[in-house]
Symmetry: C2
Subunit: 195 residues, 2 copies
């Protein structure tokens, strides 16, 4: 199944290597208070979201599509939206939601976060899909997206009849994971000495 | 009152200037969905938090103090905690909670965010309090702190008898503001062309 997603190279030799040590990664998890309970609630979130992922993506793509300053990143340098690019990335985005919920956050996972980060920067944006688009996504929007990507998922977590407390725990685990991932994705934006 | 806080230079000529244009700032606010309703709920949060700020700071300082990888930033290069440094920064942190809730996010505010960002980087850390400490805070922890600084404030917002809906709206406004501010604070960490 996974190999059917164009450009999705998780676990393969084509993936970048994270420069972070296991200890540095561990300190980051501690800083966002990410622990075993969060892993359990992410698995539950994975079950809850499984048949709603396209609906979640509709919300996110709607958000990007309705804001010209975000849509440009999926457009040609002349500003024409590249729907094939959007569609190809969407398939990897779908898989990413599953990975966020279901994968162990091990070395393969950490390396793929480095890869995803790079794919938003000048180093690798556009290469995977062989597209002509703006060369990178400003780091400002990577961080700012923590808000919409966290907030918009909550109603979906509440759609399968779980208690308010369970929904809240799934949502907190999701929030921690997003902050953790965006932190990792910002690594290739800065001088190693400032990260 | 304000001039009594050592090193708090808000609105003065000593503050750095933000390189962001008003339009760029506006796009960031749009990206975190920050609007007039959030301003209203931040004002309410300001009222709710007013007599609880030291308790909030106790939680945050407890978190930093119990994690050696965070406490080093308030310590000498040899690792001895500098309690005077902690105390001086705490007074500005107190004021920052008030500012986050009560100030208009105008040019003075935007400039002070640039100043706060710089005070976490090699450019300005330690200068304000004339201390000898580690030279900068890694950008990774600036972003990662979005989680604890957002999550830990919620119980305090619920302490004054507001409805669950009002508490949630105050908390969302706080969350948006934290993401917005951390985004601004990360500006001096990167090449302008990558921000
Ligand atoms: C929390 C923030 C974000 C999340 C969770 C996120 C998620 C993702 C994921 C999962 C992928 C595919 C990774 C892969 O190739 O396997 C991706 C790629 C991409 N994202 Fe993001 N993203 C974020 C921020 C942004 C922002 C702010 C934009 C700007 C509109 C953006 C635009 C893109 C583009 C254009 C690609 C394709 C990059 C390429 O050419 O390979 N992303 N993103
Ligand atoms: C959401 C993240 C953070 C928030 C809201 C925050 C807030 C603040 C505030 C309001 C100040 C005082 C600003 C002024 O001078 O008026 C400050 C300074 C400081 N913060 Fe942070 N901070 C964050 C991240 C961090 C992290 C991760 C550390 C590491 C433990 C840290 C350590 C410090 C230190 C050492 C200072 C004093 C800097 C100086 O020498 O002037 N902060 N912070």
């Amino acid at each position: 199944m996974e190999t059917a997603i164009a450009g999705y190279t998780y676990g393969s030799d084509a993936v970048a290597r994270s420069p972070l040590s296991a200890e540095e990664f561990d300190l980051l998890k501690k800083t966002v208070l990410f622990g075993a309970e969060d892993e359990r609630y992410l698995r539950l979130a994975g079950e809850v979201l499984a048949d709603q992922i396209e609906a979640v993506l509709d919300v996110w793509y709607g958000f990007v599509g309705s804001h010209p300053h975000l849509a440009i990143y999926f457009s040609s340098p002349e500003g024409v939206l590249d729907t094939e690019y959007l569609t190809r990335v969407r398939a990897r985005f779908h898989q990413w939601i599953l990975d966020t919920c279901n994968r162990p956050y091990d070395t393969d996972w950490l390396n793929y976060q480095q890869e995803i980060g790079l794919r938003h920067t000048r180093a690798k944006k556009n290469l995977t899909d062989h597209v002509r688009s703006v060369p990178y996504i400003g780091m400002r929007y990577m961080i700012a997206f923590i808000y919409p990507i966290t907030a918009t998922v909550k109603p979906f977590l509440a759609n399968k009849g779980h208690s308010a407390e369970e929904v809240e725990k799934m949502h907190q685990a999701w929030f921690k994971s997003i902050v953790l991932q965006v932190t990792l994705w910002c690594l290739p934006y800065v001088e190693p000495a400032n990260f």
